[in-house]
Subunit: 172 residues, 2 copies
DNA sequence: ATGTTATAGTTCCATAATGGAACCGTCAAA
DNA sequence: TTTGACGGTTCCATTATGGAACTATAACAT
């Protein structure tokens, strides 16, 4: 499968991967969250090549995750700011950081701690059900085929791989 | 910066990216969560090349995310199962799916809905503080330098890029 | 007004990662 | 004993990436 096809998959995870499914994009976004917003700063702090960074920033702007804002009078210098779509990636970053803290850490402890407004203690982020408030994990939660898949199944719009996918799922 | 160096960064997000910072790995893991556990099934449902899949599965086993279990008497056929480390990726997948549902969806609606034990309604996953229960988002939460960074700063163990990184952060 | 530096890139080329087809070895059923 | 399924590996062409060198504009310094 070609890279561009990923964006057209039905699966929301696959679609998301078409945005940040590479080694740099989430790190660039992390930098912008950390207020490292300028090309040269992002480049120096990440060690990404300029070429790659230029390409990634352009894509993120095209995809509506960042916007490019001139910060000088001459309008030749820009910084990148998170759009609403970009800001909404925060829970993903926090959840990944949490997993990394737990499973990839060394003996020095967590590199960052998270503090949020209105709570004394460092935040320990967990994913919960908005409805009942219970924590969600692999043992108590299950994905079920929803309207998005149903509609396309009915209209017969799936690729060979997606047909395989959903026939495998229905067996279980 | 070389790819292998990413795994040795201090940042938990960078370290996590060394595991699943590419276009396929999270999709492979998603399949295993969906009980698509065998080489040929994963390959047929994802459309990844066999070569790539073989490489990704080997890495995930090396990294302790999956384990390879023989399912025939002759021990020549295997399936891949999530370890505890792998199972703990569930909140990440759910959070990414949620973002994709919100920002990458088409008019057919969510491809999957999540149901969890003990709640009638489809789960709408949100990231909350385990301590106070409040939702965590970009507006109410902030990363602060923690013990992991402090220890390495004191010992002077950072690469050029990481020094840049943390000097930029301390300015803000 | 002239040279220097900082920013934000682009161009070019060598190297690394990926996709796709073909091939291989083991086992199980026909 | 042959056939097919499974779980790969090998090989080669294509694509993505890293790194160095170069460019264009504006601000700053002399």
């Amino acid at each position: 499968m070609r890279w561009e096809d990923t964006a057209n998959q039905t699966c929301s995870i696959a679609r998301s991967m078409s945005i940040f499914g590479d080694r740099w994009t989430l790190l660039v976004i992390r930098q912008v969250f950390m207020k490292v917003r300028r090309f040269s700063e992002i480049q120096a702090t990440l060690g990404i090549s300029k070429h790659r960074l230029s390409d990634r920033l352009t894509r993120l702007v095209d995809d509506g995750v960042l916007e490019k804002v001139a910060y000088d009078a001459g309008k030749t210098r820009f910084e990148y700011r998170l759009t609403e779509k970009g800001l909404d990636l925060y829970p993903i970053l926090v959840t990944i950081a949490q997993w990394g803290d737990r499973w990839m850490a060394d003996e020095d402890g967590k590199p960052f701690v998270y503090k949020h407004a209105g709570c004394e203690n460092p935040a320990d982020p967990i994913v919960c059900c908005a409805d009942c408030g219970e924590p969600i994990n692999a043992h108590n939660c299950k994905a079920e085929i929803g309207p998005g898949i149903m509609a396309k199944l009915t209209r017969g719009e799936f690729t060979k791989e997606e047909q395989e996918q959903y026939s495998v799922l229905r067996k279980s």
